[in-house]
Symmetry: C2
Subunit: 238 residues, 2 copies
DNA sequence: GTCTATATAATGATAGAC
DNA sequence: GTCTATCATTATATAGAC
């Protein structure tokens, strides 16, 4: 037998015990959080507790391999559906597929724990959002922004943050949580106000924005005056 | 950062040992999360570990009293600044005041843990947002919504969720986190895209919203047609 | 009220038999 | 490779001395 799975993340040929433990760990971590013990994971995988550490060295080693695997699956799946619309849409789609439901739950837990995986995914989503928004601007569907990068980050932060908070409160309400149902409810409850905000805004006029832009211009000018020569070219927008 | 003030020259009437332990627990929970042990709390309070449980019975009892106290402070402070603008603004203001900074951190931890306190505060914020938005609509500053309650919940979910995610990622980046600085950066980074979205929306036209409203109308009509036949009228909810 | 000392349980990690 | 058995640590909670 060859099967040199020294390195992590081989998602095919998943019959090996090592992969079974990893999948079980993802499922247990997803359901019970990262405070779950090695014994629970071993029981879910149908192996002895000692075997877990024999394969992964430690609990952190197991965590690292789970993170690596999940990130790898996400990246591969995103490559498949490159045309998925909107920020955080890939994660939503993910939860709709039974096979990937534990991965979605694992990602939610990972965001809550605040470790590396969540932030890697977040930065990836920000990049995707910026690219997608740029396409929307080019096609005329999306208004241009004075700072496209900041807008992409802001929208991603809002969408991901809102979904995480929604899932978290729902998780607290009824455990175990059905993520597919929760995602559907999330989209259903928030579709109208989200479309209202995106289509019409919230404020009746742009006085707040104008005031902010005015103060920003003043600040920029005074900063300009300190560091450079007084250049008279005022960059006024719109 | 420390809420634990040694009773040397403290003029507050609150300096009973029980209150000192409670304040120390809030500070330790805020900094280290709710996995912090009773020993760490006892050390921060300057008492023995046994005394903690002597006063509060158990760790859960201590948690409950901390939650109760924090919620009480928030309610009292909100009563002071009833005119605070915008959703989640009360929490932001809170972090700007040195005295209340540990409370803000505790609340962030509480949201992350997903226990009762976070949700109590959230529902409170939703109500505040709805009321505040209603005032804005009445004064003409805010556009009316087709579903004001859903909009208030959506905006609160976005604002709180975004702030929590921001704090969490920042907390992971540099510990211990300076919440006042983090709040300022949060507001500074996101002010422009937020004002853009609130003032101008994101989409160039309302075709997405119109399409949604059309399907909703169709769904409502067909649902209407179904419930209009009263052969078994046991269910009468919408 | 407050402390020291301890009981009990669960954790991660390890050693050795097969 | 896989298991059983165990170590060492840490957690909460409790009992008893002062």
């Amino acid at each position: 037998m060859r099967l040199t799975n020294d390195d992590a993340g081989d998602s095919r040929s998943d019959l090996t015990t090592r992969a079974r433990i990893r999948d079980a760990a993802i499922a247990v971590f997803a359901e019970s959080g990262f405070t779950a013990g090695l014994r629970a994971i071993a029981a879910a995988a149908g192996v002895s507790p000692g075997l877990v550490n024999h394969h992964f060295g430690s609990k952190d080693g197991l965590r690292a391999e789970c993170d690596k695997y999940v990130l790898d699956v996400i990246r591969r799946r995103k490559a498949e559906a490159i045309a998925t619309p909107g920020p955080a849409q890939a994660m939503k789609d993910l939860a709709e597929i039974d096979e990937y439901a534990p991965l979605f739950a694992y990602i939610v837990r990972s965001f809550q724990a605040g470790d590396g995986l969540g932030e890697s995914l977040f930065e990836q989503m920000v990049q995707d959002a910026e690219q997608y928004l740029e396409m929307g601007v080019a096609s005329g569907q999306v208004r241009p922004s004075r700072d496209p990068a900041a807008r992409a980050r802001y929208l991603t932060l809002n969408n991901v943050g809102a979904m995480l908070l929604y899932m978290q409160m729902r998780m607290h309400r009824d455990t175990p949580i059905d993520y597919r149902e929760a995602i559907r409810d999330f989209a259903g409850d928030l579709a109208l106000p989200a479309l209202e905000l995106y289509s019409e805004g919230l404020f009746s006029d742009s006085s707040m924005l104008d005031a902010y832009l005015a103060t920003e211009d003043v600040a920029a000018q005074s900063e300009d005056a300190e560091t450079r020569q007084p250049d008279s070219t005022t960059e006024e927008q719109k």
